[in-house]
């Protein structure tokens, strides 16, 4: 990309400080990384290397330990902080924003399932060894199977999609053990853990979301999170079902960060490179009446979507803070807000990443700008689960006060 960091000291959507109480330090760290990623985004996508350099950047920045407790050496920041960080990174590179999101999510699930002493140890080592977490829990495949062998276990099976796993230090994986579903945290690399490196979608190309196979992998008791042998039939409290909305809210934030980035690039281009149309009667593209109106309309949509994402973050934080006291109704209310944000942000991000070109004109399709990556990345990830069903849940909650149960998606 032709534009240097020096020319663009900041993205235009810098209202972060105003609207929330996020830790300014980490937002600043995220912005520095975003500016650096923006420089190389087009080239890195074209090369298509595994995102080792990107993860190194995250590792060295300290962002991997953002959510770990300060007692364990982490930053002890809030989920809201992490949403902001993810959003900022997505302005420049949605791949990296997704990688970090799944790191937060998958490790959070692991900590949550772990016994207290396991949890403390995982926090400590995750911070000290700067682990990057991945997972292999796509719910639409069959479970890998865990069997006993001697004093330990063996794991066999396959998953078609495994987020972050190929480049992770620990991989969470749901497995079947004698009719019970267990959660493991498997070290990586490890003998028998085979990565397909077969992710080839047209977007989010650097996310290493390909298949994984477990070929008779040796598993120790310590890798099993929580009670073992498992305590069967334990009722799941509402507070333990906040994973799907939390998950979806990371998506919302990297969708919106991507839209911010796309609109920001369009602004830069209109101001520096676009020419006024010959019958426009104006002397600069930035004075064209249609460019102004269309930009304003997209900007208004994005502001509304961002505002709703922030409301959802506040509700999720409140729900989490309620802990075991959280009722099903409270849980569903928070989830409905997140899903409303999901519906809105998906449409907003798809719309903005396609319509920015109307603001910029034909020459902005040149390959060196790579401006199509915004749409390709959004279009790819927003298919994670069907939007119509999220809208249905928002309507279901509004009309009937409930959300259709779906352990991994709603």
């Amino acid at each position: 990309m032709a534009l240097s960091v020096a020319e663009t000291p900041d993205f235009p959507y810098a209202a972060d400080e105003v609207q929330c109480s996020s830790d300014a330090h980490w937002l600043s760290v995220a912005k520095q990384i975003a500016l650096s990623l923006r420089e190389t985004a087009v080239a890195r996508e074209r090369q298509g290397e595994p995102p080792l350099a990107e993860i190194k950047l995250l590792r060295e920045s300290g962002l991997l330990a953002l959510l770990n407790p300060q007692a364990a050496g982490g930053a002890g920041a809030s989920f809201t902080d992490s949403f902001r960080v993810v959003r900022i990174l997505a302005r420049a590179d949605t791949n990296v924003a997704q990688l970090l999101s799944y790191h937060y999510l998958l490790s959070h699930v692991a900590y949550g399932r772990a016994l207290p002493e396991q949890r403390a140890e995982l926090h400590r080592r995750s911070v000290a060894e700067r682990w990057f977490w991945g997972g292999a829990s796509n719910p639409r495949d069959a479970f890998p199977v865990l069997t006993r062998e001697g004093d330990g276990f063996r794991l066999n099976g396959r998953r078609n999609f495994a987020s972050n796993a190929a480049v992770a230090d620990r991989i969470t994986v749901r497995v079947l053990f004698e009719n019970e579903v267990l959660l493991l945290a498997v070290p990586n690399p490890r003998e028998g853990v085979v990565h397909g490196h077969d992710w080839d979608a047209f977007g989010q190309k650097l996310t290493e979301s390909g298949s994984i196979e477990f070929r008779n992998v040796r598993i120790e008791r310590d890798h099993i999170l929580g009670d073992f042998p498992p305590v069967p039939g334990t009722a799941v409290p509402p507070a333990a079902t906040l994973g799907p909305p939390l998950h979806q809210l990371y998506f919302v934030n990297f969708y919106l960060g991507t839209a911010e980035g796309a609109l920001s690039e369009a602004k830069e281009y209109v101001l520096t490179s676009a020419k006024p149309w010959q019958t426009s009667g104006v002397s600069a593209a930035s004075a064209d009446p249609y460019t102004l109106e269309h930009y304003g309309t997209l900007d208004a949509d994005l502001r509304a979507s961002l505002a709703l994402a922030d409301v959802a973050a506040a509700e999720i934080e409140t729900a989490i803070a309620r802990g075991p006291a959280l009722t099903q109704a409270e849980r569903d209310a928070a989830a409905a807000t997140v899903y409303a944000a999901k519906v809105h942000s998906t449409r907003t991000a798809l719309d903005i990443t396609s319509r920015i070109f109307d603001l910029m004109g034909a020459r902005a399709t040149a390959g060196r700008y790579g401006f199509d990556r915004f749409w390709r990345n959004i279009r790819t990830h927003t298919l994670h689960d069907p939007l119509a069903y999220k809208a249905r849940e928002v309507g279901n909650f509004a009309l009937n006060g409930r959300i259709t149960p779906d352990p991994l998606y709603s």
Copy 2:
């Protein structure tokens, strides 16, 4: 309307308490009035009487003095409180929400222009005598003209639209006096002040926004707000130009309250009166997959628009609190946020008030429900100033960092 207050103790969008620190007492007062107004909304519109009973309700509730300082006997609430109150009233009756909005706006402008001693006196009397304020300042007509006569003045002229004026105790009016524009607060009724009672739009029928004529009206020095003779050529500081965005943010809030009311009525209707379609395969309208999805989509749009309105309120409050230190850039940033909310809320409210019928079905068009009033009210008032120009200003600020100056509209 067939539904009684007892059956519907609250509108479904009751997140007011959660998301802001508004004074719970006044929100509760507003809700009580809204429930009462909802009962009679259809009948009152059909009768088309001047809104004397409605203003009496507001007067007795104490809401007219919501923004007056506590020292003067007022409630000393924030603008944010008043936005909430207006929004709540609009759920039931957009006419009343508009009446109260203009009362707040027009009195605020009067207080702002008044000299300190005038201001104190106006606050005191406005609270004590429970004044309802109106105005005659439509900027697209010629100014009425003030001339000296003896120890006083005479006012002559006409305005095509005068908000609240026919039912107001005080009418603010911009007049021309020897090449200077002055602001008056004229008592009403008063000899020579003639109301056209000619407002006949298809929406906001009860708002008394018709014409006004000043036929040689006697004006005293005290009616002139601010310095007299006027001090010519005083530069207007940015803080004194917050009127248009403040104005527009009231609009935003009564548009969104109307949308909330429309969606709330649709919910009620779907749950109690709608029948499932014969090929739907479900046994209740509230389980229809399209009803759920469409409701969810409208709900998501509305939540986003509400969230942005709240962000705009916070920015306007901050800008007002800056006082004389407010820079032009800060003022324009706050205005741009409000105008983004205007663009978004207008589209949202138009869309929801038209599409609720798809959720309810054919029988919901029966005259006794009066559900078309939501669209008619929104369609009428959202033409106050052209939306494309508001979107242009949002784009202009984003791209060029400025807003086209327009003393009364931007």
Copy 3:
């Protein structure tokens, strides 16, 4: 309405002659009636009288006999001609367009069901006596019941909606007779036929679509169309199921005619009454860049919808011409085209009738123009059956090659 016929000799969408081979005479007749109806549309709606004068106008024009064969004294025109006529009338008054549409539909169904000699007699008398047809066949109520009495029959029952019936000469009604559904053509007025005059929707106010009650009405054999006693269990050939799409295509045409009328009024208003916005930089509203673009966008949508309606008309004509040779696949293909036109025209008409106000500005909401009637009329009738289910059938045909059977709606 202030505008005289002389000022507006034609609506701007006068491409009728170019794009089809319709009988120019009848289009000209329809245009004359439309211009006359436009003059009085606002006043007539306000008065809310039964549409006797309107039907008199249709009766005297000869349009009631447009589809009757020439041998019976009718005009022998095509369905395509009748779609055009209906569309033209809807430009000025959607009520009258609906009245005429149902006249064509209901009489067509009667002729189709009648035995040959009955059919000839019905055609002859319908033309000679200039009958206006109505119906009482809303499928969502229970059937009225026919019982024998002496040499004749008695009819008892009630329908909540009866199109045209209160002002019709003959009323078609589906009845239950000993487990068989029969179709009657009942003379009106007639002892025991009681009209509720209770239609009170906010749109299509002049269509007399209220309830009807049959209180022991004497029915003769001649009023029963087709075989009697009925031949049970006869398979219905595809050609006999073209009623619903034919029905829907009349709707499509009066929706689009209404949209044409709305856009035409907006044009007239922009050219004669609208003022340019103060910051537009242009000297006439008709030169405003946003007005031009928005008008152009609406115009493009309308042209596309009209073009699809014409394609659907051609397909329906072809299907009808196939007669008994029509296959189910051919029938469903024609129906899918009509339903696609239904989906598109509904959205187009709702959008245009609401957005014309953005072109015209605030003063166009004045009651004397009555411009809200376009939206009210469209919003009311487009709820006849739910749009999502029509879109579903279009998708079902495209993906699975079939349409969900629904005797009266698809």
Copy 4:
């Protein structure tokens, strides 16, 4: 792509025969080529070779001579035929559809400008030698300059975009000669004609639309089309200004063909590869209620857009047939219809090519399908000229009866 021709004998939008009188032979030829191109579309785009094989296919099919008169050995088909051919090819490969469109356009302009004897010779040789035409007339660059040298001329200059030129046999180019603009038909390859091979947009990758440079290229009198020396100041008749709308109507047709192809692939995928969502309650993706409704909605939009494109084709044919008798008003009416089709088809094609993924789900983003190419191709070419200005012209014609003059774009 995994799907073989045998599995998909035809695209689902095969109404070509029904709705127009196109020459069935050429449509059949086009379909054969389309099926073959579809097989290799993904691989060919990935390889990114110049489209020599594709042009060979067109050359051998006879389609290059579709519009040449039969007297010269051509097919003598109508423009409408050529629109259909282009639309069919675009279902499989928008690159090839664009190549052929520009071939038709650029050669048509050359024939039109040529003197009668030149024209006959050009037709004859173009057919006999199966020329493929290109051009270098992008109007937003400076003109190349022609100067005399001896008995001939020399051409110098550069164009940033030259459609088809790198792979053409003849290149049309507008040049400046002593203050007059001339049109040349330059043989290619030729000494001094240097192709930049620098087209690198993210869509329409195989169209060879890169830069061209003329380095002292020798030009003969015969290469100059029309009078030489030029006759200055000749008024251009309306019939000679049909180039831009004709041009745009080719675009419309390959946009819509692309949308047809995208929706067709989505249908195939839904029927063969997509899985029903876990909470959908149905057993096949093709029975999902949202898939059916959304598919139906997109299908309805596409049908409307296709119908309008056909209306525009008929109007353009009529206008061309009028010849010198064509008035400016008639010309502008035809142009307005085309531009309405441009506005509608652009939005339809952008929408469909992005939303097909919602029908198919996440796995449809796999690189081997290449389904993103539809959006990338449409997004790239629809920026040829700004859509807002086309909508403006549609509105300008509707409101003011004129189109803003712009020699090459309107």
